[in-house]
Structures are given as C-alpha cells and as structure tokens.
C-alpha cells in the first residue's frame, strides 16, 4: 500500500501547486497531473473501469479548460482577498477536518468493508445478469435507474451549454432571428 501513500502525497502537492501558481495554463496542467495520479490510484485499488473512465474524462475536461484559458491569460493580480475571509475559510476547514478525523474510528478499517449489498452483487452477478464485468452488471442492470439519471445529467449539460453559448438570448421587439 506504500505506492498509494506516495500517489496521494503527490496529488496533494500537485493540487497545492495547481492552486498557488500564478499562470492559468500551468494551473490547468497541474490539475491534469493530479487527475493522472488519481487514475493510477484507481488502478492500484483494483478499479479498472473507473481508471479508464477517469483518464478519458479528465482528458476531455482538460481540453475544454485549456480552450477556455488560451489567449485569455490576464496579468494575474496577486493581491488576495482580505484577511478575514482567509481566516474564516481556514477555520472552517480545520474544524471540518478535526470532526472528520475524530469519527474515522467508527468507520470499518481500511481494506475491510462490510459488504452487505456488495456481496450479493458478486455472488449473483454472473448468474443473474450474464455479464462477467460485475461493475457493468451493477451499472446497467442492478442499478440501471442511476445510469438513466446520469445519462440525463450529461444530456442536460449538453442542452445547457448550447443554451448558454447562443448569441442572443432575447429577441428585440418583433425582430425574428433565424436560430442557429
């Protein structure tokens, strides 16, 4: 499990770089590195499906982000917000971290999940759905309603982006615009 620790430390350092660096493009590239490390972590955690999807989705998110930051890189003003806001954010995060760490004791130890529902998927997955890839069986047969909802989220995002980027929102008085 040592490589997981290394990957996680690498991701935290990459995230801090992505936040503190001044130039936007290098910040986006740093996030790409964090995403790649995440995909490797998924592979180590024996989740190949999730690793492929994470890698590929991250590629597309990066291309879209770079499209947004190209040629728009402003001379970045360094003055951050005033002290009070920083203090509130750091205090809130510290409290949140302490509360979360305190209640990790109640969770089952790492590596020993209580698989109440998971074990039925593993035992009956092949027999009842015929798919050898249990994750595909869970996604498309046991919990197919989730995937319908999820495909709809993507569909909403596509229609949403098309609605947001269109040239004119409101027609001016009586003038008919041919819609793209």
């Amino acid at each position: 499990m040592l490589e997981l620790y290394i990957l996680l430390v690498f991701m935290i350092v990459g995230a801090i770089i992505a936040i503190e660096v001044k130039d936007l493009l290098s910040s986006v590239v740093a996030v790409g590195a964090v995403g790649l490390a995440l995909s490797m972590a998924f592979l180590i955690l024996k989740a190949p499906d999730v690793a492929i999807t994470q890698l590929v989705v991250e590629l597309l998110a990066l291309i879209i982000l770079i499209r947004a930051t190209l040629k728009r890189d402003l001379p970045f003003s360094t003055s951050g917000r005033w002290f009070f806001n920083t203090f509130v954010t750091v205090a809130f995060i510290a409290v949140f971290l302490m509360a979360a760490v305190r209640c990790f004791g109640d969770l089952p130890a790492f590596g020993h999940p209580i698989m109440r529902v998971g074990s039925t998927y593993l035992q009956e997955g092949l027999r009842r759905t015929g798919a050898t890839n249990i994750v595909a069986a869970v996604i498309l047969d046991f919990r197919a309603f989730d995937t319908l909802g999820e495909a709809t989220v993507l569909f909403t995002a596509v229609i949403g982006v098309l609605a947001v980027v269109r040239r004119t929102g409101r027609k001016s008085e009586g003038q008919v615009i041919e819609e793209d």
């Binding site: 910040s27 999807t53 989705v57 998110a61 947004a68 402003l74 003003s77 949403g160």
Partner: protein, 112 residues
C-alpha cells in the same frame, strides 16, 4: 485510516481553493480537485485487502473480489463532474466575453 485523512486533506485543498481564490478558472480548478477527492474517497471505502478487480475470470474464484458498488457509483459521479465542469467552463467563457475579465471581484454588477 491515514489514506482517509490524506483524501480529506485533498478535499480541503479543493474547498480552500473554491472559497478563497478570485479567478473563475481557479474556482473551477478547485471544484475539479474536490470532485477528485470525493471520488477517490468512495473507491477507497470499497477496497478490500488483497482483493481482485470485480471481473470474472473462468479460473479465479469470487471470494476476494473488491466491492463493486462504489465503483459503479464513482463511474456515475465522474461523468456528473464532467457535466458540471463543462457547464461552468461555458459560463466562464461567456462571462469573459461580456466582462472581459476572469476576476470575480471585478464582476460585481449584482448587489449580493
């Protein structure tokens, strides 16, 4: 246990970036990092010591397979993260087109 804490630290780094940074693209970067952290935490929760990936092979048995439910859920939440990121980037580009800046403090038309 330590892995859970590291994962939460990553989430807090993303949260800090969202709440603290003034540049729109940095806020989107913060959201992406926070989403990475939550997805990793979900798969960490489903891992099993010396487990095997939940794909049937004709020879191996099914006793030590990793929990398949978190992986299915994380697949869904990764693509949801992509959908929200795409919409946020589209909004950010339109705002840049209208306001000419990514700096949130300059985009202050509305009285909060």
């Amino acid at each position: 246990m330590i892995l859970y804490i590291l994962c939460l630290v990553l989430f807090c780094v993303g949260l800090y970036c969202i709440l603290r940074k003034r540049n729109i693209i940095k806020i989107i970067v913060g959201i992406i990092i926070a989403e990475y952290a939550v997805n990793l935490f979900f798969v960490l929760v489903g891992y099993r010591m010396e487990g095997r990936s939940p794909i049937y092979a004709s020879d191996a048995d099914i006793l030590n397979m990793v929990d398949a439910l978190p992986q299915a859920v994380v697949l869904t939440s990764i693509v949801i993260g992509l959908a929200t990121t795409a919409l946020l980037v589209a909004l950010a580009m339109r705002i840049y087109g209208k306001y000419g800046t990514f700096d949130i403090t300059k985009i202050r038309e509305l009285r909060g």
